[in-house]
Symmetry: C2
């Protein structure tokens, strides 16, 4: 079973409920605020020693920063503004108090930078250090950016440069430029908010362009044609940019009538292809059906 099958199984056993505008299957759920006004966005992200970060390479503070920043990327992907978050931690066998406090200081640094208030959490013990970050944001009612709105003819865009995070991870902390890219992901919150009313679909790049684009197409019921030009992080190959994840850039689509500039507030916006008719979720790379690569947490054991 892969993540898609798992999510499908969960959907089958889940009923909607009052206020559920959109449930599981997107970067965030969209919920109607009980008193009206902006919609609520909620999402949760696990961050586990050895799975999501290399305990030996990360300082505690870097790990905490990254745990919160990547969770906030889901709010960015929906076009929302962060408000509140909760952090559950289960300390591993080797987790020292000092390490855990430094982790929370790194988490607080990201929270302050991106304007989210820590309002709760839980603490326990386990085997491998485990953290789960729940983020709650808001978006004007009806303006959240789902994955499911892409239409044939829409342009496909990515922000920034691809493959830098995995490149930085491979090079390690001794190569600061790449390492910073890996350890300090920047949720594209301002860009996501700017894309409200412009993008037809949007998601963040967490598991690799190939797999994430495949998911966007699946949610939208469309196919995609990707050209040979991807915006590459220096030193990264086309194949790596296609496959490698955790860049936390935005992948979005926009109708031809919407003008997307080549950059916005210093961040490159690159048109990498076009939404097409054709077999649902099929992605064509340079005209040929592409092999879907990328990281699946259930299918791929760490």
């Amino acid at each position: 079973m892969d993540e898609r099958a798992w999510v499908a199984a969960l959907r089958n056993m889940t009923r909607g409920g009052p206020g559920v505008i959109q449930g599981i299957g997107d970067d965030c759920a969209i919920l109607a605020s009980p008193g009206g006004g902006p919609d609520l966005l909620v999402s949760t992200d696990m961050f586990i020693e050895g799975v999501h970060f290399d305990f030996g390479k990360f300082t505690a503070r870097q790990a905490g920063y990254r745990a919160v920043a990547r969770a906030l990327s889901d709010i960015a992907a929906m076009g929302g503004e962060p408000r509140w978050h909760l952090i559950s931690t289960a300390w591993g066998v080797e987790t020292q108090e000092r390490w855990a406090l430094e982790f929370m200081r790194g988490a607080a640094e990201a929270a302050d930078e991106f304007q989210s208030a820590l309002v709760g959490g839980d603490t326990s013990r386990t085997n491998l250090f485990t953290c789960d970050v729940t983020v709650i944001g808001t978006v004007p009612h009806g303006e959240a950016l789902p994955r499911s709105g892409a239409k044939p003819g829409d342009g496909i865009y990515v922000s920034g440069l691809l493959g830098g995070s995995e490149y930085g991870r491979r090079k390690g902390p001794d190569f600061p430029a790449g390492w910073t890219r890996h350890a300090r992901p920047q949720p594209r919150l301002a860009l996501g908010q700017w894309l409200r009313g412009k993008a037809s679909a949007c998601m963040d790049l967490s598991d690799g362009l190939s797999l994430d684009l495949h998911r966007l197409c699946l949610a939208s019921g469309v196919a995609a044609e990707i050209g040979s030009k991807l915006p590459l992080w220096p030193g990264v190959t086309h194949a790596e940019a296609w496959r490698d994840g955790e860049d936390y850039e935005l992948l979005f689509t926009a109708p031809a009538a919407v003008e997307i500039p080549p950059s916005w507030e210093g961040l490159a916006l690159t048109r990498i292809g076009e939404i097409a008719t054709g077999p649902v979720s099929e992605v064509y790379l340079d005209g040929k059906p592409a092999r879907i690569a990328g990281y699946d947490h259930l299918a791929d054991r760490p």
Copy 2:
């Protein structure tokens, strides 16, 4: 470091933010809905193989039920109504797909019973099966029941019978009455809602009466005097009822002017003592300072 020191450290590195009516340190955070109307209640609870449940004794379905029911108990403790929840799971080395699906079916059973809609989650792999449940509820604006409102002279009450969960755990699944009490905790949602406007302070009994009462006194800046009579689950001793956790009954205080009946909708409500002046958080049991027992997730390694 124990949980109290950890929470204090987190509070020191946390700033409030817009809409934060009450942050960390209670059963739930209380947040102002962005559009006005009812307040939001949010809380998160980890549920880990070997720490929070015995993998060998629980069926997958029981484990899933329990994970959600105990998380919803935090909504009950605040006098709220459940709305939505998110479930993150990290599958352990021995977690089979079938087990994980059955776990989610048990979770869905509790969610249906207590009227909460699953709206999200995350899935990953780890060493020991780990689950984190985030619950979001609502409560009429300004009516949430905090831990911090107990005043000298208030009566101290508990719902139901104490010690049954741990008794059931020790006896194991072959003794259905006790086991059901352990495996299927019942969040006291209706009681919590009824206590709005009546109770001066309220929390749920998760880590044992002794430790939880100590925490309530600490939050309220008061002491407590407990009599010799506790409502005991059949077969449970006074010392066990004082120490053992996970009953998920409500512990609450009410001013003398508020009449609390001996039972409500079939659930016993027992006056076990009175809030007192005296050293903050000191608990007197039958006139003598009590030793604080109970489970601390950080101080007590599993």
